[in-house]
């Protein structure tokens, strides 16, 4: 019997080679179509199933014909951005989405402005936001920076008031307010004292500690070489950057911002008057393909992070002679920084602040299982290669571990569990953010070049840019000092850091 069945199988399978189905039907009329208990045909179903396939198709067609359906006679790529938008934000990191959220927050009527955010990699594999250590501090020397971080910390403490969406889970940033601890050596202690007075004047809650007080508070620190320490008591610490990005994105999209996955590859200047250009059309290229869409827009915001300089160059900003205003390039380039996750069960403990040593090393607690995140700023001469995000473990062995073990003796015995690398959107001019409009291209705004402290300043910086666009000038915080003017005038405003 089974041999007979195997013959059936052979004949059925061979029905494509022989010209007709007659061969199979000769043998199967006795047994019916599903004798063998399995469906061997690989093409259309044997029975014409009217109710499942055709009826469903007819119902779908009828539903498409009703108003409100999104059917259109043109079979175009549904992922293309719209043909025109009021504001195009290039870059979908935390800065771009923060600006999008604040623009929608400040429009006075619903659908006041049409905003689209163009991000070329929705997995954020190279974005600085998600690869960041996530720290927030007010211990800067520039009042603008302190204001930005203070306002952002306030925003993040009340994040659900701002970014909560109805019927969705509340936002949990895991904001650990453990504070930053800066350690200064004898030579730079006076800078730390001056910074401390600036910070207190602006309103940051910082305190200075002598070595003995330091040892009392944090017994695991080796205070050799430390002359002064500056500890943030409130609004300082670290949080989860991915949660902040998603919170901004979810809220902005619920308010009507359109997200588009694509890369901006060009722009068309529509009017060139003697003292200004207006870029009016952006060319957005779809990923993995040749399709592109020209998006007509009124305002362009460059929030492309580490790749802002390259974007500006591609848009033709610096194609003019170098010593003219029009030819000033946007001085932002990517710089690679490594972060290493180490496990040390005998380490400092739960009240570890984000410690930054005068030698350039830093570390902070990560989670509750005895893991810490650590890294160091490389010297100017040994900047790593930025063509990829490969991690150099030798750097840990040479530069980070010795300093780490010197400062915290418990860290002599640790194990590196993982590591990653991320880009700073490094402002080669003065390592501080550029917030403002471009002097020549009238409708291009910048929010980039934060050189490692962009994530912590993103809520307040986004609000500043939105005020600039919708109100014409800054309303809550005055960020004119961080404008593009200082780059044209070659007047850097450097942070007086101790490292």
């Amino acid at each position: 019997m089974s041999a007979w069945r195997r013959l059936h199988v052979k004949v059925r399978r061979a029905h494509g080679l022989f010209t007709s189905r007659r061969v199979t039907e000769q043998y199967t009329w006795m047994y019916g179509p599903s004798t063998l208990g399995q469906n061997l045909s690989t093409g259309k179903p044997l029975r014409n199933d009217f109710f499942k396939a055709q009826l469903a198709a007819m119902r779908k067609k009828a539903a498409d014909a009703l108003p409100g359906s999104s059917w259109s006679p043109f079979d175009i790529n549904p992922n293309l951005p719209p043909e025109r938008a009021d504001i195009v934000i290039i870059g979908g990191g935390v800065m771009g989405w923060s600006i999008a959220y604040w623009l929608k927050q400040k429009e006075r009527v619903r659908e006041g402005v049409k905003v689209i955010v163009v991000e070329r990699d929705l997995t954020y594999s190279q974005a600085s936001t998600v690869l960041s250590a996530g720290g927030i501090r007010q211990q800067f020397s520039l009042p603008e920076n302190i204001h930005l971080s203070l306002a952002s910390a306030d925003f993040m403490r009340n994040i659900n008031e701002h970014l909560g969406v109805l019927n969705e889970d509340p936002v949990d940033l895991q904001f650990n307010q453990s504070g930053y601890l800066f350690l200064a050596s004898e030579e730079v202690a006076h800078i730390m004292e001056e910074n401390y007075s600036t910070q207190r004047q602006v309103g940051a809650k910082v305190t200075l500690l002598s070595p003995t007080q330091l040892k009392e508070k944090f017994p695991w620190i080796n205070t050799d070489g430390v002359a002064l320490a500056s500890y943030g008591l409130e609004n300082e610490g670290w949080f989860d950057p991915w949660s902040l990005l998603n919170a901004f994105r979810r809220k902005a999209m619920s308010m009507g911002v359109i997200q588009c996955c694509g890369e901006v590859t060009g722009a068309v200047a529509c009017s060139v008057v003697h003292d200004g250009i207006t870029a009016c059309v952006e060319q957005v290229q779809m990923p993995k393909g040749l399709e592109y869409q020209m998006v007509e827009c009124a305002i362009v915001v460059n929030a492309a992070g580490a790749f802002s300089g390259k974007l500006a160059e591609m848009l033709g900003i610096s194609s003019n002679p170098k010593d003219t205003i029009a030819g000033t390039p946007v001085p932002v380039e990517p710089r690679k920084r490594y972060i290493y996750v180490v496990h040390c069960p005998d380490g400092p403990g739960l009240d570890t602040p984000f410690l930054i040593d005068y030698s350039g090393m830093y570390f902070r607690r990560e989670g509750l299982g005895g893991n810490y995140i650590t890294g160091a700023s490389p010297k100017e001469a040994d900047e790593p290669d930025t063509s990829n995000l490969e991690v150099d473990h030798q750097f840990f062995e040479d530069s980070v571990w010795p300093r780490l073990a010197y400062r915290v003796p418990a860290f002599e015995k640790l194990k590196v569990t993982s590591a990653w690398a991320g880009f700073y959107d490094y402002n080669t001019f003065d390592q501080n953010g550029i917030i403002g409009d471009h002097p020549v291209i009238n409708n291009m705004y910048f929010a980039t070049g934060f050189s490692g402290h962009g994530l912590q300043q993103s809520p307040a910086a986004g609000r500043a840019v939105a005020e600039l666009i919708l109100d014409g000038n800054f309303k809550t915080l005055d960020m004119r000092g961080l404008g593009f003017r200082r780059i044209m005038a070659q007047e850097p405003i450097l942070e007086r850091n101790i490292l």
Binding site: P82, R84, D86, I87, E111, D275, G276, T278, N443, I469
Partner: protein, 460 residues
Amino acid sequence: MLKILIPTLLLIPTSWLAKAKWLWPTTLLHSFIITLFSLAWLKNTTETNWSTLNPYMATDPLSSPLLTLTCCLLPLMILASQNHLAQDPLVRQRIYITLLVTLQLSLIMAFAATELTMFYVMFETSLIPTLILITRWGNQMERLNAGTYFLFYTLASSLPLLITLLAFQNKTGTLSLLIIQLLGPIPISPYVNIIWWTTSLLAFLVKMPLYGVHLWLPKAHVEAPIAGSMILAAVLLKLGGYGMMRLMLILSPLAKELCYPFIILALWGVLMTSSICLGQTDLKSLIAYSSVSHMGLVAAAILIQTPWGLTGALILMIAHGLTSSALFCLANTNYERTHTRTMILTRGSQMILPLMATWWLITCLANLALPPLPNLMGELIIISALLGWSWWTIIFTGAGALITATYSLYMYLMTQRGPVPNHMISMNPSHSREHLLLTLHLLPLLLLVFKPTTIWGSAY
């Protein structure tokens, strides 16, 4: 009549044979000459009111202002489109002008028709070039939706009109306006008089538009290119009003009761759409809703069928045509420079383009019916006529006039005053073409202050 129609028809070969450099100046000049000739229609010397009579077409004091407005608008449309079509290839520019001329032809023949059949055919014909203008030259994806709404609202409501006209021909043996005006009441079975009344007027109520069936207008006006918006606002809406005025001759004993719901709808629409204007973010959308609001007044005035009502309706139609078209031109000058229609992003233009601010001021003041402009004359006559019909309408019309003033001033203040945004600091200065365009809109309006009897119509 032929001395206007033949030159308009021959504008089509002109646009195809003119050299590239001379295309726009040539068509502009010739359409201006046609406008000058059309001014002759405004003088009416006959006792029967019908002049320039031939078997198919004639003008009377009701249709001659609308005809002159139509002929006046073609050169203005050509002026307004010149800039944004400059990047298009030459063939497309020629096609655009051909479409505008075809639309012009169908509109002239519609207004001048003596037979209602010809009027109906031309009414439908005017839809096609407009549809092509909206769907091909509009700016955004939504223009397909807008074109669909525009086409099907008008088509669906005008097919019953065809049936009505055929039935009328059957019953009375004629569809000529000259004879209809002399016929008495039409014997209709009392069961069908509601249907008869509705089918006659539905097409025109949709075209006006009446408040409940106005959805096509904001979409079509916003998505159309500037010439499309101009002709839509200035003339195509008036086609509805004109049709209503003509057809109500055949409906006379019925109109007394059956017009009630539509008058209420129209007056309610005045209030509602003016209020919507106050919350609009898109400039063209605001002007579109303001058109609906003004046309609501016109619809109510025509429906009460009094001599003052018809007079006021016609004056307001002409004045609104010029004003609305001017507003769309101003919005377009803004759009061409900033590439956005959102009002938040285009503020403070008075600082940058002061002379354009003058035109904005005059046009916004015209929109809010400032004396002595014909806008006020029309509105005042309509409000008085409605008051005579019923005391209660003053609530609607008074509140409507108040809100109209509010949103017109709001539009002026939002676009002209306020801090200048950074991205508007260096815009292209105003072209003299734009100044000419607005002057040619506002000059007839100002001239009409001195002799409104030209646009009074035959009811007075």
